[in-house]
Symmetry: C2
DNA sequence: CTAAATTAAGTCGCGCACGATTAAATCACA
DNA sequence: TGTGATTTAATCGTGCGCGACTTAATTTAG
């Protein structure tokens, strides 16, 4: 151990685990998402739209914690694939509404089985899941202060 | 709730929290890392080198769970900033050794205070940290199966 | 001893993330 | 009513992540 400061040790660093765990989970999703031709962030955005269709870019951004510099190109790709439409709000031309197309709505059914498959892959008990959720929510809340 | 499948609901999805928490933590690090001019992945790689200097690209990759297609450009940037050197192993010319420069070693001292500051920012108890680590380790292990 | 297989690093292309900036529309209010 | 401030989306540049591939060196198997 050439480490002077034990706190710098990677094994003690929550940051490193979080960074890796997040990428591992994305990798776990990949084979499932590949079947429906979606990337992980695209899937997140569609989850938001399946929850509530016809949202503004800003509203999707607040839910996903992503800004227009990430969302605009992503949404354009979803539009090119015919999963969503992008239309200006005539009452306020600064705003862009995102609506699901029929294809986008139908895709929800194809994704129905993904959460259950992921739960199985993750290998966590319901109890562990609950604890993990709580800890992550604290971290997420801290970032917003 | 326009949601047919309750498992698809974002609030129930661990994936979404993990994805957000990971980015939030990166954002929490940013003001601290900006002072030393590092990105978050660069900091991770330097943590690995501060733990053990003189590693192969492959070894760093195993520790960080990153491949050469991510590491090579990142290491080149660190080399351009004079924090590491890249040198072929004369005994096996396929391999590239990464060594810290003096500047790279000195930078460790500047980063000494980062873990403690992050612990304060994260707002988690030691108990919560331990639980979080355990859950994340399970997820990370699942990804490797 | 050489041909095939393996290994390590690098290259390429795409899609995020995100800071910084811009442009346009709307709002506030003097 | 005009004008400066604010809001919203889009644009731009940089740096990851990662799948797919290439290149070069080394190992192995026959």
């Amino acid at each position: 151990m050439s480490q002077s400061n034990p706190q710098l040790n990677l094994d003690n660093q929550i940051c490193f685990r979080l960074y890796n765990a997040s990428r591992q989970v994305t990798r776990l999703y990949q084979p499932l998402l590949k079947e429906v031709g979606l990337t992980y962030p695209q899937y997140i955005v569609l989850l938001i739209l399946w929850e509530q269709d016809g949202q503004l870019v800003k509203e999707i951004g607040e839910r996903a914690e992503l800004n227009s510099n990430t969302l605009t190109p992503l949404l354009k790709r979803l539009a090119e694939r015919g999963l969503v439409t992008r239309s200006k709000n005539p009452d306020d031309e600064r705003q862009t509404f995102i609506h699901l197309t029929e294809a986008g709505k139908i895709l929800e059914q194809s994704c129905d089985c993904i959460p259950a498959q992921m739960m199985a892959k993750a290998g966590l008990s319901m109890e562990q899941i609950q604890l993990l959720k709580q800890s992550l929510d604290v971290l997420i809340a801290q970032g917003k202060r």
